[in-house]
Symmetry: C2
Subunit: 151 residues, 2 copies
């Protein structure tokens, strides 16, 4: 992992965060615990449901995305967590075997006024599938340490 700090997240910078496959067994396991709706946990019922087959919980799609963000966008050296997320949009269903690609575009980077050791990064998270369709977008906020705290 690269050690990144606030100064390394330039507005307009793009981070390609790699791929992850939505595995059927994991889709069912995640949803059985956290989102047990028929179209997420039972392929037979799902076939006759609103999506014509099993689809991943939207929260599972985000969880798979988060893993890519932790490995390729955030940095252990500087990550202080997040105050929130805006505009989560699940644009297309994610089905078993779909390969997701995660991309981040930095929208805004502001040093904190009250705490000189950190700043807030806003970024657009874009998740596509193997057919080039966007399946998930959201705007993430992340608190990040500065390499060189301001005076």
């Amino acid at each position: 992992m690269v050690a990144r700090y606030f100064e390394d997240y330039a507005v307009g910078a793009i981070f390609e965060c790699g791929k992850v496959v939505a595995d059927e067994a994991e889709i069912i396991a995640f949803a059985s615990r956290y989102d047990p709706q028929p179209f997420h946990i039972d392929s037979v019922l799902a076939a006759h449901g609103p999506y014509g087959g099993l689809i991943a919980s939207g929260w599972h799609t985000i969880a798979l995305t988060m893993r890519r963000l932790v490995e390729q966008y955030l940095s252990e050296a500087s990550s202080l967590g997040s105050p929130g997320i805006d505009e989560v949009r699940w644009l297309k269903p994610v089905r078993p075997g779909d390969e997701l690609r995660v991309r981040v575009v930095v929208l805004d980077a502001r040093p904190s006024r009250s705490k000189p050791d950190r700043g807030l990064i806003r970024a657009s998270i874009e998740v596509g599938n193997q057919r080039g369709e966007l399946v998930l977008t959201m705007v993430a906020m992340n608190l990040t340490l500065l390499r060189t705290p301001s005076a």
Copy 2:
């Protein structure tokens, strides 16, 4: 579970969705797979980290919340999934053993213009802890079947 339809989600209605405890082993297991940052997965490192101890991944807090929503707010009879979520705010850390209480307030309910069998419900999701502090708020959208489709 109660079978609910679009007509049953009146604007202003409040749904008390029960409690769930954030278990330490599950906090670590969830984050090890989906959000492996030190303050979510390693209690020793977390003690010296920005939160002074282990805290749940914000996505884990939402996943625990979602389970309460599936059991106490949504209905298998009518739930068609969600196009998105707005204004996710993680207001306070969730620590091992914290007991979360989930509450929903219906903000808006609009029949679909293009599909007469369904409507969109917007609701404020509020999650508090055993000390009466809000730890998570978000605004959820859910597509829901009508009991009696409009003409």
